[in-house]
Symmetry: C2
Amino acid sequence: MVNRKKDETKLKIRRLAKDVVRDIDKHSNPSIEIPIRALSNVHFNEKKSIIELGKETQQRYFFNVGQAKKFMQTILIASACDELLDSGKTTSIRDLYYMTKHTIGKSKENTFDDQAESDPIIEDLEVTIDSLREELNLFASNRGAMVGPMKVIDYGINKKGDQIDLARMGSGGWSIPSIVEEDIIEFKDCKAKFILMVEKDAVWRRLNEDGFWKKHNCLLIHGQGMAPRGVRRLLHRLVNDYKLPMYVFVDQDPWGLYIYSVIKQGSINLAYESQRMAVPSAKFIGLSAFDKEKYKLPDNVTIKLNEQDKSRAKQILNYPWFQKKSWQKELKQMLKNGFKLELEALSAKGISFVTDKYLPEKLKNKDWLD
Amino acid sequence: MVNRKKDETKLKIRRLAKDVVRDIDKHSNPSIEIPIRALSNVHFNEKKSIIELGKETQQRYFFNVGQAKKFMQTILIASACDELLDSGKTTSIRDLYYMTKHTIGKSKENTFDDQAESDPIIEDLEVTIDSLREELNLFASNRGAMVGPMKVIDYGINKKGDQIDLARMGSGGWSIPSIVEEDIIEFKDCKAKFILMVEKDAVWRRLNEDGFWKKHNCLLIHGQGMAPRGVRRLLHRLVNDYKLPMYVFVDQDPWGLYIYSVIKQGSINLAYESQRMAVPSAKFIGLSAFDKEKYKLPDNVTIKLNEQDKSRAKQILNYPWFQKKSWQKELKQMLKNGFKLELEALSAKGISFVTDKYLPEKLKNKDWLD
C-alpha cells in the first residue's frame, strides 16, 4: 500500500493554506488563485486527444463583498478534506456538505444552505490544487461492475488489504468502488488481453453468464449507463498499467456515442479530470449505424430518432473529436437511418447472438472505429 | 446446487400450456385463468403481517376481440421463459421484450410494440403459475451490496460455483445479483447475529469503512434507495434460514418509511411477491422523528417537509400496517416537526458518529419500532 499520494495531497492543501497565511502576514487582501472552469477555458488537445482545461485563472479574495462567502467556503472545504486525509476516512460529497454546514457565530447565516453550493467549491478545490476529489477522500455514488482474469487488493477496510479474485465473482461481479486510487486498489496478476467496456449491465450479465471473458481472455466491465468516475479512473489505470486495447460497446444512439466520447476524451464540464480519467486509445466497437444491415436485424427492433436525438446527433457531428472521415460517415448514417438501436436489439437474432457471433466477428475483422 | 426449483417452474409452465391444449382438443374457447392484480384484490393479512393478493381471478380467452392479442402475448412470454429455463440462461425483461418481438406473418402487426406491453404480461404469468420472475430466469436491473461474516456460493457462471467470502470484499462489497434463488446463490458459514439494512450506499460505506459489521458481528446490506427485488429476496431468505433479527435504517421522511414498509410487508403493486419477499419481523431503527432532540442534532440540518411529503405522510398514517400506537406517535411527530432528516445529517455530530454512538446506543437500548 502506497501512501505517497495522500501525503502529496495533504502537502498541496497545506501549501494553499500557507499562501493565504502569507497574505495575512503581509497585511494584503488574502486570496486564492483558481483555474476557471468555464467553457471559455476548455479546449480539445488534438495531440493528446483529450479535452483539457486551459491556463486561465481568477483570484478569489476575502475582502470582496461578492467573494467573501465563497472564499470562506473554499477554506472550509479544504480544511475538512485535510481532516479526512488525517483520519484516513473517506466520505460522500453529500456527507461533506453536512459536515461543513453550520450557522456562523450568532448570525442566521449558514456556511452552506444547500449541497448545490458545496459541490462547485469541491470542484474549485480540485482544480486549484490539481487533485481529483478521490484524492481528497471524497466519493460520488458508485455504479458499475467487473469480472476477468485478474486480482485486486482492496486496502479500503483492512490495512493488510482484501485480495479479491475477479475470475471468481459469480454472476454479480466485483462492484467497482468510487475511489480506486493506487493506495486503495492495487492490481495483481492481470492475464487479460483486452478490455470490453459495456454500457448496460443487462448485456454485461449476458456476456458474463456466457463466459465471454473466459473464452476471449478479457476484462469485462460495465458502468450501468454513463460510466461513473470510479469506473473511468479504473479504466485509465488499467490501460496505462497494462497497455491493454479497450473496446467500448454502447447503444446506437447519441447518448451511447456520448458515453463513448466521455470515456475516450473526457467531458467539457469536468475537463480538468481528463488527464487522469480519459482513455484516448479507446475504440468504438458498436452498435454501429451500419450494423442493422450487416447483421440483418429485423425492422421492428429499430426505434425512431426523436427531435432531441436528431439535434444531439448534429451537435456531436460538429465536435472537434468526431471530425475523422470514418466518424462523419458513421454519424451521418445514423441521421440517414432515422432510427436508433439498443444493444438488446441483437437478441432478436437469438439470446446469445451477441456473445457467439456479433462481438467475435467484430473483433476478428477489426470492425471498430477509433 | 439444487435444480429442483427450475424443474418445478418448468412443470408449471407446461401445465398452463396443457390446459390450453385441452381446451382446443375439446373444441372449446381456449383460456387462461389469471389472478387479478388490481387494488380491489389486494389486502393486508394481519396474521402474517404482509400485503397479499386475494383469490379473485379472470379468464383470458383466445376467441375474444378484446383479449386475443393478450392471450397470444401470454403464451409467447410463457414459451420464451420455457426456452430460457431449458437453456439455463437468464436475461433482462427488456431483452425478453426484444426476443419475443416480431411482426406477425405478412401483417403489419407486431407481437409487442413496446416494453410497456410485455412487462405486465410477465407479471400476469408470474401470478398465474405462482412463480417469481426470478424463477422464470428473468432479472431486473440490479443494485445493492453486502458485506459480513458469511460466504456465498454463486452458481451463476460456473457449474462448480464461485465461493465468495463476504468478509473479504474490501470497500465495494459484494454486488447483490438480481437473481438470488437457492439454485443460484447458496449461503454458507453465516456467523452474523443480525442484519443491518441501510437505505443509502454512502452511509453503508461509512459503516463498512469503520468496520461496524466486524465489531457488531452483523451482515451489512444496502439497496441504493428502494431495495430492489434481488435484495428483498436475499433478505427474506437470510431471515428465514438463519432466524436473524433485522434492522432497517432509512432517512427520516415518508420515502424512507415507505422503503421500510415495502421491505417489511411488501407493496400494493406487487402484492403477489410478498410471500417470498417480505420480512414481517423487520424493525425500524431510525432515523426517528424523535432523534433530532434525542441526539441534539443542530437545527440547520433539517429540511422542511414540502406539500408532497405532508400528504404522503398522511397517507402512510392511514395504512392498516401503521396502526400501532407507537407508529401513530412516530408519524404524527414527523408532521408536528414539519421537517425531514437525511441519514447524512448525523455527520454534523462527527463523521463516525453514526458508527460509534448512534447505532450502538439504538441497539443497546432496543430503541426501535416494530
